[in-house]
Amino acid sequence: MTNVPIEGILLPNEKPNHESPGNWKEYFSFSTDHKVIGIQYLVTSFFFFLVGGIFAMVMRGELMTPESDLVDRTVYNGMFTMHGTVMLFLWTFPSLVGFANYLVPLMIGARDMAFPRLNAVAFWMVPVVGIIMMGSFFIPGGPAQAGWWAYPPVSLQNPTGNLINGQVLWLLAVAISGVSSIMGAVNFVTTIVKMRAPGMGFFRMPLFVWAVFSAQIIQLFGLPALTAGAVMLLLDLTAGTAFFDPARGGNPVMFQHYFWFYSHPAVYVIILPIFGIFSEIFPVYSRKPLFGYKVVAVSSILIAVVSGIVWVHHMYVSGTPGWLRLIFMLTTMFVSVPTGIKVFAWVATIWGGKLRLNTAMLFALGGLIMFVFAGITGIMLSSVPVDVHVNNTYFVVGHFHYVLYGTVTMGLFAAIYHWFPKMTGRMYSESWGKIHFWLAFIGTNLNFLPMHPLGLQGMLRRVASYAPEYQFWNVIASLGGFLLGMSTLPFIFNMVISWMQGEKAPNNPWRAIGLEWMVSSPPPVENFEEIPIIISEPYGYGKSEPLTANLSE
């Protein structure tokens, strides 16, 4: 018998198909490296964050005065529709998928995602979605104007009479975005289940990985409903079917079920990774292990499960029978239990630690405080009698902007600052970071806090004109909105300058515990020369145990 040397043989699918990093052109090409794709997601989505922000500022400009005087009503309606759509489908979802892409393989000790090519295809659908959405501004009749819920029959009214209209393009883009996210979800769930390094049991995974895992499971069961609803509405609009058109015997409320069956859990798809980011950041900057790690991990899964049975709370006043209203009130309120466990665990993690208020920590703390506020208004909204009053008012708008800006966007900024040295190999400027934090924190509260009294007084969302008594709080909200727009300037400045000529970053600038901090900054192609063997639980601050058996810091 002859001994065939194994090392010399490369099976076709084992070939290292990744180019070398460091070449900027790579970020504009079809790369299959999860780190390149992660950054592609982040940069693309940040571009759309700015676009969505400009739409928001046009709206805040219109709302400076009670009359409809800045833009035409149809333009205003297009603005809020595209603001909501862009911020959700082109900013929060893809930016979080970007972080998950970048971090999950590194954190579980894998060389890449399970399906690198599928990963790249899923990413490249995002610019397609963006181009279709932006393109709809340039066709006759303008973009969709039915709100980001696209409730029929308004969304079925096609005043241009054209087959290609804003609403059709909108539905097409949302369906493509849904397919892209389903591809991503299959990839993440497979990667997390199958590709963890030896020794990394489920209860040794970092909490960010737990959060992504829970969030992507929601994508798998929820997204098909939204995508199906979008396709059915598209058929109603173009092919003459009558799923949702009441004029031809369809049921418009049915669409609301399809829509919210996914779009409420979607909020947890967005917020869970942010919870994961909080759970990563608080231990590092408090120098303490995460309090109650296992309970926090399980609470992510619990949130994912409960999120599947709460969607009707968006429809309390949609002709929903009383008994259904009351059942969904109870399920909705129960979301607060696993969520509360997390909040208390973070507070206990910070308590008695040795805190360093770096920019990332400031953003995480600010995000946590605003999340507690959003959670409380969320409980108020879940109560049927309260919701009957404030449903579709600015109270709801204030609540979900405290979630989506106050918590999610602040959490995203925290993550960007925290992992910036790892991703770029450069340090950012702390003083510019702190300026950014204070502008963003003050701007967020100025912008979104006034929406609560407005909603309690009865000001409705989606109005271009309003009663004069609402003007005072609207002016403050608008000033806050403009401040928030300005707050992105020091951020962009800091990121661009630091990436080009910042101080070189060491492997582990924050003295953090985690696999991603044990490789170079930025990490090499395929991450690990040798797959790590995990021998202890995460967040071992103050315990001086090695995390792996074979890697040295």
Partner: protein, 306 residues
Amino acid sequence: MKIQKILNILTLLTGAIAVTVTSLWIGKQAYSWLPPQAAAESLLIDDLISFLVTLGAFIFLGVTSTLMYSVIFHRAVKDDFTDGPPIEGNIALEVVWTAIPILLVLWIAGYSYQVYEQMGIQGPSELVHLHNPLGMESAYAEAKDTPALAEPVEKIDVLAKQWVWVFHYPERDITSTELHLPSDRRIRLALKSQDVLHGFYIPAFRLKQDIIPNHAIDFEFTPIRPGKYSLTDSQYSGTYFATMQANVIVESPEDYQQWLAQTATQKPSLATNQAASEYAQTSNQSVQTGWVTVPPAAPPLVNSPG
């Protein structure tokens, strides 16, 4: 050592008392954030809101003051690069902070359920299907303790279309674009829409109900405070959504009857409609600054154009 412990407990106690007193005060303030209480239902809802604000303020202040205490007193000293104490959890504490939210949730849900049952806003067609196990009286009875007044029921038809409200009083067969309601009477509306989803919402009543094409939806409430309020469309209904408003006049039953009688003598005339006039104005502009829209329904012919 012992003195330190006593001091800690005292600090904690002072903090808890301060947070409790502040939350109670904020809860009382909640009433001033709301519009006038013009329906029996609004009294119940405002009490619930005040209760939730008190509870919410307590939780918010409790969590943030704990966080702020840490941020101020638990900062790392400049050159101290050691770690904090490796505390990984505390079973007793975790059980407590799981059990308390569960109890709170059950309390809030129970209270909300009671309020909802007392409101009974969904009308008789709903009550046939919904067994009412607690046997709550109507909101009106709770508020004024005179259940006899809850009857008789005044029936009014409400028609919503892009972008106008039309009210029909079947008793006298008259129509209006202004909603007149007798106070201290149970009102039963039959809500209908001609085209898209609309929402019937009077902030001063704290009441809201979506209107769905091809469905007649019963909606009940009891106005209690004479005055002029506004009705708005609460479910986005297209281009001129924000203009879809109507005046609501709550008056004494005598005044109401007088208004009905007087209106019955008036010949139907064309109502003014903001959406229609704005649409006409925009169409006449030489430069179009917006996109093409669904045209508003023609202004209705009504006995009382308001």
